[in-house]
Symmetry: C2
Subunit: 565 residues, 2 copies
């Protein structure tokens, strides 16, 4: 919700821009620095969207590819920044800084001057020359080999990533290029996160951020990247990958990357010299947007899947987390990340595949969305009343067990079981999954005392949030902004500008003023907590039985399934 | 399908009548003795159906009651017998015998002359005076106590019934009357199966059958009923129950009960003196109807639930079967019964509660039943292709585990799982349940070499039957008659008449001529068997894990569920 705030506006007010580059579109958000009020927003859909079938010239892509076009990102800047300035009648000179956040790992090969290889005619028909989007999964083979070799060599970095490097991350994606298109690998002077490449285009400086490096490129503040020996073990040809293709010149989030160049000023309609923060990642940048700048508070970004972010004061090995990076979220803290690969997706699956005819009719008659109808019915049930219990693994398990081969499970069905009971059981299962993650952090020295939530589910669904509070036995506060990532980016823009130019000296100060929560707090209801404690104990037993090797039936079924096809 | 067979008919042909008393209606089937051809059938719906709410005089019934009216059974005889004679132009003198089968245990209190207590005005407002139908479940309290006491006393009869006497059976139902309506208990000269009562009305003889006595009244050919000490232990007032209220004068199935009285001749339009067989039970009487008269062949009667009947040459203790009775199905053999409490009910539940809108629309557009649509889609899948596995316990487990508190389970779901995959997994789960029963018989000395199937599913669903053949690794033959119980009853009528009157000397001879199979045989497909062997091994592990005490999560969930209500 935008508050135009016209009454109090004057030409002396300072603004920042937060720009959030998503999977299908980019969004600019214009924010007043002194109070965090969001005065205008503008979204631009990427003309090339996600290329998962063909390149622009018609070259066919393989299975599991997902590419993007660099021009689309620049077009977001060209379109949305003038749009918000104009909508809010804010002058360029009132904008003191900007920050951006991005999907990650979203990576491209470039020449030394920043030119993307995909824009050079001789390379433009080679898929590996293009930007590999975070959800490009065609490097799974490389990821598997990498994990095998790392484990054999006893590489210590594995423990920082829950024991596994994802095929979505930087090194497997580069290795795929090396294997499939050596000419691209050789021609590339750099492989760079799209986030850092956009900053480069804005400032003229290749100033890479520690957040993507830490979470996606196996970089560690004191240990750096993996060793040349490790890369040699992958392939002798990769030995000098770090030296030749990456950059060890990294800047913590909250740093200033530089100022807008004349060229970038022309592109955006802003003034040359406007401060620009180093790039960030969408989930991570949301943490200060809800006001979190200290340890013990976990932010859950809840949508089709959920990201869990929490700050810690020490580096701990938490089994099955996605990653821990010093200064990765807020400078001075260890930023921990975990995730559930399937949250809203469960409910959507159920609606699309298992919701009976008569419920669809009832929703239509009442003029409500089917999720809303199921929610109303499910909300009438008491905890435990359905007798159902599920494991939330319809899309594998990302954190704690880190196992994509795990599958969904539900038990307790009788001939009287109704659709809303199954729907509620799926909601509860995702809450148990979150509690599993919280308990794992907590037991391994990373306290989680309070919960914060952002994203579509947190925004809209009180029924789900109350179940999460009851299951996780913690109060939950909700992001005050529906576009937390863009707000967080804007806050880092204000830090890049600094206090002298009307911004803030650090993200803690910025968060205190610009970070936002709704008034509502979901508090655990004691009566429900008692029942959910019992149900969670059952969940935990089944989680371990099916997930920790007692009965690997899910994996064997998957093998049989793959063979049968 | 009735074949009128007019061309070959003449007035010398002999016929028998098989009368099948079901839950909501009774059916007469007129059959030619020399070839088993079914020439006419007639169904009459009971005017009082199942009384589960009110008595005829408006007296309110409690929860779980299910009563019937004795007049309804006589009305079946009055209506349907003349109807089939007339339809087939068969003269009464051509009908040499009749047999009946019934639901069981369906029991009523009567005076010494056979008058039902419920028809005596002073008792007609007392629910316990009426006929308790097989599915009357209001004696669960008595059944629980009976099982507790029997176990404490180490009563050997328990092992013949899988360790548990059902609340649906005779003794709990009588005990309930004793507890709630002692005046009825005292006024009753007899408690008698409705099946035997109808025979009494037809022949004037109280000639009870060994089938219901053995399967439902804890009677054993050499041990008789439980001892007076046992009944004393239940309640001192029940000490003489056997002597005072039952009859130890029992006749094996295949015996002649007597001949039609003048009164019964008037009721039915048949001739007085027509031979009448002792009564039988619907499932059991179907065994010879498919031609089974020897050990090693199991008949599955497949509908909403499934009954499994197999003959054995010795009395064995098979864990978790429903019962074993000497001469209980075919004289000279031990008749074994097992069951699955939920088969077609699973598929119906899924269709009513989980079938998506678009499938319903597609079925409508194609003008097919939704089960048919799901079947067509599910049939396109290969074994193991869905990755799904379920436990068929949506209504508990009747055989092997004998545990009503077990619940359904399914695992292997992903975001790509489709409705037809779930539907197929439910079909497969019921097939695994059947194989579990077969394996349990087989391992405990009761061989099962071939399968036979009757009932709605066997009749109509080639997809399901092929899966059963593949999972159970045995050929399956299908009943040639869609009304196997009535056909079987008619065959016993022909045996009651005997060879001299144009019938048969024994059921083996009758079955050889009158027993019927379809031409189709479902044979295991080797490729499928290989996959299903693997899947069944997984089913077995989960069956034991959830069903034999390793993880009693289902029971704990049920407790929580009951408490929450």
């Amino acid at each position: 919700m935008l508050i135009t705030d016209k009454k109090n506006k004057n030409n002396m007010d300072k603004y920042v821009l937060g720009i959030d580059f998503g999977t299908l579109s980019g969004r600019s958000l214009l924010i007043r620095v002194e109070n965090g009020i969001e005065v205008a927003t503008s979204v631009f859909d990427y003309p090339h969207a996600v290329m998962d079938d063909l390149l622009p010239d018609g070259t066919k892509l393989g299975v599991d590819w997902a590419l993007q076009h660099p021009d689309d990102y620049l077009e977001v800047l060209r379109q949305t920044i003038p749009a918000v300035l104009s909508e809010a009648s804010v002058e360029p000179e009132q904008v003191i800084g900007l920050g951006i956040d991005f999907t990650a790992c979203t990576v491209l090969p470039v020449k030394a001057d920043g030119t993307p290889l995909c824009l050079i005619p001789e390379f433009s028909s080679e898929p590996n020359a293009w930007i590999k989007l975070w959800k490009h999964h065609a490097a799974q083979g490389e990821a598997n080999k990498l994990n095998e070799i790392a484990e054999e060599r006893g590489e210590s970095f594995l423990s920082r990533y829950g024991g596994k490097i994802s095929s979505e991350w930087l090194i497997p994606k580069i290795w795929q290029t090396f294997n499939e298109a050596p000419e691209i690998y050789n021609a590339a002077d750099r492989f760079i996160e799209a986030a850092d490449w956009v900053i480069w285009q804005l400032t003229g400086n290749e100033k890479r951020n520690t957040c993507t490096a830490g979470y996606k490129a196996i970089w560690h503040k004191s240990e750096g990247y993996p060793t040349d020996e490790f890369f040699s073990a992958l392939d002798p040809g990769l030995k000098n990958l770090v030296k030749d293709k990456l950059s060890a010149d990294l800047y913590p989030v909250g740093s200033k990357a530089g100022e807008l160049t004349d060229k970038a000023a022309e592109l955006t309609g802003l003034l040359a010299g406007t401060a620009v923060a180093v790039a960030n990642v969408d989930a991570h940048v949301s943490v200060p947007a809800v006001g979190i700048t200290e340890a013990g508070k976990m932010l859950m970004i809840m949508g089709t899947s959920t990201c869990h972010m929490v700050l810690g004061e020490e580096e701990k090995e938490v089994p099955g987390m996605c990653g821990v990076v010093e200064d990765g979220i807020i400078e001075g803290y260890y930023g921990y990340e975990a995730g559930q690969s399937c949250v809203g997706d469960h409910f959507q699956w159920f609606v699309e595949n298992c919701t009976p005819d008569e419920y669809m009719k009832e929703a239509k008659e009442k003029g409500v969305d089917i999720h809303e109808l199921l929610t109303v019915k499910a909300a009438e049930l008491k905890p435990g009343e359905s007798g159902l219990l599920a494991l939330d693994w319809w899309n594998g398990n990302r954190s704690v067990l880190v196992d994509v081969d795990l599958m969904g499970m539900m038990l307790g069905m009788s001939l009287a079981t109704k659709a809303e009971e199954i729907y509620r059981a799926l909601v509860e299962a995702t809450a148990y999954g979150t509690r599993m993650i919280i308990d794992t952090f907590h037991k391994n020295g990373v306290p989680v005392n309070e919960l914060y939530a952002a994203g579509g589910i947190a925004e809209k669904n009180a029924f789900i949030m109350q179940i999460y509070a009851d299951v996780c036995k913690r109060e939950i506060r909700i992001s005050g902004s529906p576009q937390a990532p863009a707000l967080g980016s804007g806050m880092f823009g204000a830090v890049a500008a600094g206090k002298e130019r009307g911004g803030y000296d650090n993200i803690v100060d910025a968060a205190r003023v610009m970070g936002k929560l709704k008034d509502i707090v979901y508090r655990p209801i004691e009566e429900n907590v008692k029942v959910y404690d019992k149900l969670f104990a059952e969940y935990e037993t089944l989680h371990d039985y099916f997930g920790r090797g007692d009965n690997d039936v899910m994996k064997r079924l998957k093998e049989i399934k793959l063979k049968s096809r």
